[in-house]
């Protein structure tokens, strides 16, 4: 039981806190305070319940055989360990999270690729000093659309 008390895994709260996004800090704090409260409660409990001094009671209680009966029954009582209903749910949530995060990672990699392509485009671009109008239109196709929308120079609604 003593092995169980410590828990299967010691959680590195500092490393955990580092990874929490800023908008979920309050939830993290709630979780941490809950865990801390549970830990302190567990720590304050005695390792073993106080054993009953049967010999003393055998002397003290006058009714013959009562203490023996009690002791026998007490030894027979098996205290059931509480049923675990939450772990399965947590496991399932973790699985869901795994798939979700895989999706997110794929999307994120895609986005990173896109951003890096754009950065590369800017890095390899001809300096503005040496750019012709055609080249500018090539690099910034949004100008083309604007030209279609506003065919007259300077191609944006000045009157607005």
């Amino acid at each position: 039981m003593a092995a169980r008390r410590v828990g299967q895994k010691a959680i590195d709260w500092a490393a955990f806190a580092e990874r929490v996004p800023p908008n979920q800090k309050s939830q993290f704090n709630a979780l941490k305070s809950k865990a801390d409260a549970l830990t302190s409660r567990l720590m304050s409990m005695p390792e073993q319940p106080k054993a009953i001094d049967w010999a003393h009671y055998k002397k003290a209680v006058p009714v013959a055989g009562l203490v023996d009966k009690f002791q026998k029954q007490f030894d027979e009582v098996k205290v059931p360990y509480p049923l675990d209903t939450a772990s399965a749910k947590i496991e399932q949530q973790s699985k869901e999270m795994d798939t979700m995060s895989a999706d997110f990672k794929k999307g994120s990699e895609q986005r990173i690729g896109q951003y890096e392509k754009e950065i590369l485009k800017f890095k390899t671009m001809i300096p503005f000093e040496e750019m012709t109008v055609e080249e500018q239109e090539e690099y910034f196709p949004q100008m083309e659309e604007r030209k279609k929308k506003y065919p007259w120079w300077p191609h944006y609604p000045v009157w607005e």
Binding site: R4, R5, G7, Q8, K9, I11, D12, A15, F16, E18, R19, V20, P21, L31, K32, K34, A35, L38, T39, R41, L42, M45, P49, K50, I52, Y57, A60, V61, P62, V63, V67, F70, F74, V77, V79, P80, Y81, P82, D84, A86, S87, I90, Q93, S94, M97, S101, F104, K105, S108, R111, I112, Y115, E116, E118, I119, F122, M125, F128, E130, T132
Partner: protein, 247 residues
């Protein structure tokens, strides 16, 4: 003037031809007047115009003459040409000529006077536009690289999700452990309470019996005392007191 510049530089024209004529250059060399080196596309545009002499005549014309006639040749040719045109009345001096002179003078004066200011002003404008464009570019690049950083950080954060689930599992385990401990304690306490009750019951029996006995004995003793006995005792007490007072 532009076309002259292009011819002088050669490169722009050839570049333009290269761009429009997609077949490779080596296959059609006779089509090109200028067989300069192939220029890669980011080519700086000419910023300054060609050189002039007398403020009017292109330098190249003088160069062309100098090979054949020496340094003075072009001047002689120019002067002679004007003389010839005037002499043969091919060009006729009239009031329009005077007008043209005056107009040209005014034009030149105006350009010399206001030109540099306007040039500086437009240069400033261009520089401002360039600066704007460059800052926009830098900003966009920093925004993009920030976005990449953020994405990477978000991924890193997501990697840490096992901390959350570990913590929650740990919490559940701890809660179960606490519950189990509490149950054990409860059983113990209940048994102990019952045993204590038995002990207490016994104690109380004993106490009650004792007190009852004491009371019973007392009553019996009091009952057994007769009036005669009481009188005797009183008299005895008084005599005792008398003897004590004498002594």
């Amino acid at each position: 003037m532009i076309s002259r510049l292009a011819l002088r530089n050669g490169s722009i024209l050839s570049a333009a031809v290269l761009r429009t004529a997609t077949p490779c250059v080596a296959a059609a060399p006779k089509l090109l007047f200028h067989t300069s080196q192939q220029q890669l596309m980011p080519k700086k545009l000419p910023e300054y115009g060609g050189q002039l002499r007398l403020g009017l005549v292109p330098e190249e014309w003088f160069k062309f003459f100098e090979k054949k006639t020496g340094v003075t040749g072009p001047y002689v040719f120019g002067g002679g040409l004007i003389m010839y045109l005037l002499n043969k009345e091919i060009y006729i001096m009239g009031p329009e000529t005077v007008h043209a002179f005056v107009a040209l003078t005014l034009l030149v004066y105006g350009i010399k006077k206001f030109g540099p200011g306007i040039a500086a002003w437009s240069d400033k404008k261009i520089q401002a536009q360039l600066d704007q464009a460059n800052t926009d570019k830098a900003e966009t690049m920093s925004v993009l690289s920030n976005a990449v950083e953020e994405e990477k950080k978000e991924q890193w954060r997501l990697e840490g999700r096992h901390y959350l689930f570990d913590a929650r599992k740990e919490n559940v385990a701890m809660q179960m452990e606490i519950e189990y401990q509490e149950r054990l304690n409860k059983v113990n306490e209940e048994v102990k309470k019952r045993l204590d009750y038995q002990v207490e019951l016994d104690n109380m029996h004993k106490r009650l019996e004792q007190s009852h006995m004491v009371r019973w004995i007392e009553q019996n003793v009091v009952k057994s005392i007769t009036p005669q006995q009481e009188k005797d005792i009183l008299n005895k007490c008084i005599s005792n007191l008398k003897t004590m007072s004498v002594a």
